[in-house]
């Protein structure tokens, strides 16, 4: 087990998927079973490896970066292969490997058109490398590389396996194929943000003794090395880069399109992990390196989050497309996460992390369900759906459960993120404008009512009532074994985290407290 | 003025006139032959400047091999032998002349202003010394260049080889 502790374990977790993806491309196309089996096994091995890291992880020192390593990478710019995890990244890393396994299980029998399992599974594995890498990277350049790696597979997933219907888009004269529009929008939007982010990284590099190492930069930042206009500008560009990914209002418009167009597994991974990269960036990079700037920007972030919560919920009320509704709900839920982060208190940031995990689990499941339903009914229009509980009882029951979890029902995972974020926002860090935060908190609380409103309305339109006659003729298949195998673990996880939040808090609390103590003093 | 200089000026005149012919003649063969003369004059210039080994290489490689290659090229691509009015792109002529002229003026200006000096022609052979330097100090680039040549050899063969598939396509 010593192998796991000196960085090799983490490296394996990060790079095993992409190596598997390469091997996958070497397997001939005709060996479909082998392709699927290999992808599944490699994702499971990655997951098991990440779980094996747990006993090696010293929970009593969860605030220290552990199991890492530092190897010279590009000497000329002093960029190192520096990795490690602490209590903040651990839950997210395991979530990422876990969700990938489920995504591959689901894909075994439910590949979107055009089938081609080889390319699709390889892309999922490449995506996993990007996600895992982002969570373990402790070097800005390394972080950036992984952050960008994620874009490509998702771009191809949406662009090739996405929704082929043609729709008109505001601002364009001609009608556009949804997947084309969405994939390009997704790519360009995120790239736009990360280009600025790279500028910020470079700025930190030149002001910060030519180092890209995040721990070293944190030391510098907390000792007051970055000040004045420079720091403001750097925080602004970092904010832009991360906020697009989160996404925060008003940088969110790529999200509904991408989610609507993406294949089921794509939406799941997008919602479950990709959105977390942005908020993780705030916690890992932006706040500890530039604490004073974070403090100055916090009210603005809080206001934007509050707008996002209300706005997302209102937009949900106007949707007729099931997947689009869930996508907009992500805007609202990530608003809670960002509200927690903006409070800059241990409670708020813990809330943000558990909110991220919970959102990953719950919204991931919602997208699984809605994707499967869209596949079965060949429509996502909620006006035509209805009586789903009768037609597909298993899927319907799970949809009901997940909607309840999503609206923040206490006892299920979603509750802690919402409640604790509001708790944190009520008493933000000393020196922040209490009025703004309390108003945001009240807006968030109203948001929970609206959230309940649109989710229940969605349930009423989709799940309840008598089924429409058009489905009488059709042969509808309820969830099969593969789907249930992918969904049930998420249900269990939702309940587990809901009943016993220590699963997350136990890892994150020390790390968050020490991070904030370092940044803002005791 | 020494005899060398007078000869040099003649050579320079010849260089320019043959070079002009290379780029203006409407007969492909003439162009190639003119290039031979240009190169030969260059070789003589090199001899005057006591770089006899380079001059020799120039004659061997260029006039001996490259020009032959060109003639083969002209032959294989079935370029019309004799006068051919379509050899030049008339639309480009004026603009090309203007650009080439301005580059010439620019270079001349820089060269005349920048380099002012005399050359004393050394007597005796420098070939031995050249060989020594080439095989000691510059041995690595020298070997490298041989690889480049090898690569070019293989590349040339690969490119020029008639592909089975392509032959079929051609005949269809």
């Amino acid at each position: 087990m010593e192998l796991l502790t000196n960085g090799i374990g983490l490296t394996a977790v990060v790079f095993l998927p992409i190596i598997s993806a390469l091997v996958l491309t070497a397997i001939p196309k005709s060996q479909e079973l082998l392709i699927k089996g290999f992808a599944l096994v490699s994702s499971i091995v990655t997951f098991v490896l990440s779980v094996l890291l747990l006993p090696q992880f010293d929970f009593s020192n969860a605030d220290k970066l552990q199991l890492g390593n530092k190897i010279t990478w590009i000497k000329s710019i002093n960029a190192n292969y520096e990795i490690g995890i602490d209590g903040i990244s651990l839950p997210l890393l395991i979530l990422s490997t876990f969700i990938t396994v489920l995504a591959i299980i689901y894909s075994i029998e439910h590949l979107p058109e055009p089938k081609s399992p080889k390319g699709f599974l390889a892309l999922i594995l490449v995506l996993e490398t990007g996600m895992n890498g982002t969570f373990v990277a402790l070097d800005l350049i390394l972080f950036f590389v992984f952050f960008e790696i994620v874009l490509l597979p998702m771009y191809f997933m949406i662009g090739i396996w996405g929704d082929k219907t043609v729709r008109s888009v505001a601002g364009f004269k001609n009608q556009i194929e949804t997947r084309l529009y969405a994939s390009i929008k997704f790519f360009v939007f995120t790239l736009f943000g990360s280009a600025f982010m790279l500028l910020g990284f470079l700025g930190l590099y030149y002001r910060g003794n030519k180092t890209f190492s995040i721990p070293e930069l944190i030391e510098l930042g907390t000792s007051g090395a970055f000040t004045g206009t420079f720091a403001t500008l750097v925080f602004a560009v970092l904010f832009l880069g991360f906020a697009v990914k989160v996404p925060m209002w008003p940088l969110h418009t790529w999200l509904p399109d991408a989610h609507t167009a993406a294949p089921t597994v794509g939406s799941v991974l997008l919602a479950a992990i990709l959105l977390k990269l942005g908020s993780y960036g705030f916690i890992r990079i932006a706040i500890p390196i530039l604490p004073e700037q974070a403090k100055a920007w916090a009210p603005a972030i809080a206001i934007l989050s509050a707008i996002g919560i209300i706005y997302g919920s209102l937009a949900c009320l106007a949707q007729t497309d099931l997947k689009r509704l869930i996508a907009f709900s992500s805007v609202g839920h990530m608003g809670f996460v960002m509200l927690g982060i903006a409070s800059l208190t241990p409670i708020g940031i813990n809330a943000a992390i558990i909110g991220m995990v919970a959102h990953g689990v719950i919204t991931g499941l919602l997208f699984f369900l809605s994707g499967s339903m869209a596949h079965t009914y060949h429509t996502r229009d909620m006006g035509r759906l209805g009586g789903n509980m009768k037609l597909l009882p298993k899927t319907g029951a799970l949809l009901g459960f997940t909607a309840m979890a999503s609206l923040g029902l206490p006892g299920l995972a979603g509750f802690w993120g919402e409640f604790m974020a509001l708790l944190g926002a009520f008493n933000p860090l000393d020196g922040l404008n209490v009025t703004i935060f309390r108003s945001s908190m009240v807006a968030g609380a109203i948001g929970t009512v609206l959230t309940a409103g649109y989710l229940l309305w969605m349930l009423q339109r989709v799940n309840l009532g008598e089924p429409s006659e058009e489905w009488n003729e059709m042969e509808l298949h309820d969830a099969d074994g593969y789907e249930l195998a992918a969904w049930i673990p998420l249900v269990i996880l939702t309940i587990l985290i809901g009943v016993f939040p220590k699963l997350i808090f136990g890892a994150t609390n020390d790390a968050v407290v020490s991070l904030l103590t370092k940044a803002f003093g005791g | 003025m020494e005899i060398f200089e007078i000869v040099t000026y003649f050579i320079l005149l010849g260089l320019i006139s043959t070079a002009i012919r290379v780029v203006t003649t409407s007969n492909v063969i003439h162009a190639a032959i003119s290039l031979v003369f240009t190169l030969a004059l260059t070789a003589i210039l090199f001899l005057i400047l006591s770089s006899e080994f380079v001059a020799l290489v120039l004659v061997l490689v260029y006039i001996g091999a490259v020009i032959v290659l060109f003639l083969f090229g002209i032959m294989i691509t079935r370029a019309p032998l004799g006068k051919n009015a379509e050899l030049d792109n008339d639309k480009n002529k004026k603009l090309g002349a203007a650009i080439a002229g301005s580059i010439f003026l620019l270079f001349s200006y820089i060269l005349i202003n920048g380099f002012d000096g005399e050359v004393t022609i050394a007597s005796g052979s420098s070939t031995e010394l050249l060989g020594e330097i080439l095989l000691t100090r510059f041995i690595f680039p020298f070997e490298l260049v041989s690889f480049v040549l090898l690569a070019a050899l293989i590349g040339g063969i690969t490119l020029a080889r008639k592909d089975e598939a392509l032959i079929d396509k051609d005949q269809v």
Binding site: - | G96, F104, V119
Partner: protein
């Protein structure tokens, strides 16, 4: 011997080469013009070598390298022209506008 006239003639050869590249239609002729340019460079190198009386004779050595590379270049270049000719039945470079939008 004064250097300027030789250098100016080399510049003239260079410019003529460029003129040739810009104006000629036949691909082989374009390659021919490139040789002219290389030759101009060679002359300069030898001239500078003589002028500076370099003990390492770098000017001559470079000229040798250039000649070698030029030979390789002609080989590859003609092979490409041959290939193009085989596919298009012409060596007229105006016909080759695959890079066009």
């Amino acid at each position: 011997m004064i250097v300027q006239p030789v250098l100016v003639v080399a510049a003239a050869l260079f410019s003529l080469g460029i003129y040739g590249i810009l104006v000629r239609r036949n691909a082989v002729m374009v390659l021919l013009s490139i040789e002219l340019i290389l030759n101009a460079v060679n002359i300069n190198f030898i001239m500078f070598d003589a002028m500076l009386a370099d003990t390492l004779m770098q000017g001559q050595i470079f000229t040798i390298f250039i000649i070698t590379i030029a030979a390789a270049e002609v080989g590859i270049g003609l092979a490409i022209v041959l290939m193009l000719f085989r596919n298009r039945q012409t060596a007229n470079i105006n016909e080759f506008d695959l890079m066009k939008w």
